[in-house]
């Protein structure tokens, strides 16, 4: 029996959100790039930016928020889970809303960069505020450079990866509709 169109869209949307959420978790916990100051940055922002550019605000918000929240729970930072859910959810939502505001389905490069920069500010500012309430605004200042670096790399790689995925796997456009 043929399923109605709405039902098929629901199934694809749920599958898309769940898989991207899992990818965010993996990219947060496993995929790490070493930095010049002997630390590591995670690539969760790459997936959030990529999801926002290709799949829109709700998928990006849920995958970004829930994915980073789960990563915090699994990674032993349970106290950060609700905060990450809000901050990265908002980051994904805003990036998608700005990047797709004028370009229809496909985001244009300038808007993508602008959206990415706003996403960087939301993420860095959000964690600064959250850190300020948790352990004081003075100590929270320490995290700003690393968060800016992580979200900046996320935006650059997010744009590059979005273009690359569209070339490597054109059916992704059908999933984005």
């Amino acid at each position: 029996m043929q399923q109605p169109l709405e039902s098929r869209l629901t199934a694809i949307r749920i599958a898309l959100t769940a898989v991207l959420t899992a990818v965010v978790v993996v990219f947060t916990l496993i995929v790490r790039v070493p930095t010049p100051i002997k630390g590591y940055i995670s690539l969760c922002d790459v997936v959030i930016t990529f999801s926002a550019f290709l799949f829109g605000p709700w998928v990006a918000a849920i995958a970004g928020g829930v994915g980073t929240g789960i990563a915090d729970l699994i990674g032993g930072y349970a106290q950060w889970a609700p905060l990450s859910f809000i901050i990265h959810g908002l980051q994904g939502l805003l990036i998608a809303l700005i990047a797709r505001s004028k370009a229809g389905k496909d985001a244009k490069l300038l808007l993508m960069i602008l959206a990415g920069v706003i996403g960087m500010l939301v993420m860095t500012g959000g964690y600064y505020l959250a850190g300020g309430f948790l352990y004081g605004f003075e100590a929270a200042l320490v995290e700003i450079p690393l968060n800016l670096m992580q979200s900046g790399v996320g935006v650059i790689l997010g744009i590059a990866v979005s273009k690359a995925v569209l070339k490597a796997y054109p059916p992704v456009r059908a999933l984005a509709q």
Binding site: T21, V26, F50, I70, Q79, L141, A164, V165, A168
Partner: protein
């Protein structure tokens, strides 16, 4: 990759219902931000640590401190230097090093941060992830949102394993192309093909997952039934909910 945060142990927290614990956790996290005495927050942290110690042993109970140790050191270094007024505790020559107000502020911030860390960690250590999902459902999380959570947990190990394989095969390719020491920019550029391949691999699984969901009846008009239910552990749920509200209330009255 292990996705479970549950640690087998003993104690009252293992016998308490996930919904009641969640309510108590939220109320206790709110409590530490209310105008209560610093000693009260330290007592709350002490109680949480004793529960963690009783449930999982000393080694495991110290894990949350290890995970936030860096931030505790940063707090100790930065906070005293930002409070320059009040009763002097330590002065080196003409340089004011520490005031009583700075120490009090540092104490509040540390007690609050440690308490929240231990309360949240205790919840995920003593509650299986499936129970947390069902507890969230009980509090109003939609069926679809809960389904997304469940599916995401199922897919995490699969995607992690696939990513490891993709990373290994790309490592062989890039080492042949860029022999010698890699710069930081080169390392980031090398990530793009690996990340792209991993994303394409994950995206290709979506149509199959969607088809499986359709075959299981997702999207049909009839109301869906739940296969799993959360039974109230250790007695009546109502009683446990009342106790979960009473504990933070009593602590608030005692510590203000």
């Amino acid at each position: 990759m292990t996705t479970s945060t549950f640690i087998a142990g003993k104690g009252v927290l293992y016998r308490t219902d996930a919904r009641a614990k969640l309510l108590a956790l939220i109320l206790l996290c709110v409590l530490v931000f209310l105008p209560v005495s610093t000693g009260g927050i330290w007592i709350l942290f002490g109680m949480a640590w004793v529960l963690a110690y009783h449930a999982t042993g000393f080694r495991q109970a110290m894990q949350p401190v290890k995970s936030i140790l860096f931030m505790l050191i940063i707090m100790t270094l930065f906070t005293p230097f930002t409070y320059r007024e009040g009763t002097v505790v330590l002065q080196l020559g003409s340089h004011l090093m520490l005031t009583r107000e700075a120490l009090e502020n540092l104490s509040i911030l540390m007690a609050r941060f440690l308490s929240i860390t231990y309360l949240c960690t205790l919840y995920v250590w003593t509650t299986p992830m499936a129970d947390i999902n069902l507890a969230l459902r009980w509090y109003g999380l939609s069926y679809r949102a809960a389904l997304v959570l469940t599916l995401a947990f199922r897919f995490i190990p699969f995607i992690a394993d696939s990513f490891a394989m993709i990373q290994d095969s790309h490592a062989l390719r890039t080492s042949a192309i860029h022999a010698g020491k890699k710069t930081w920019k080169r390392k980031i550029a090398d990530v793009v093909p690996t990340v792209t391949a991993a994303l394409v691999f994950a995206l290709k699984s979506i149509p199959y997952l969607a088809m499986s969901l359709e075959h299981r009846g997702l999207g049909r008009l009839q109301k869906r039934t739940s296969f799993r239910h959360l039974p109230a552990r250790g007695g009546f749920l109502f009683t446990q909910m009342v106790v979960s509200v009473m504990i933070p209330t009593v602590l608030w009255v005692l510590f203000t």
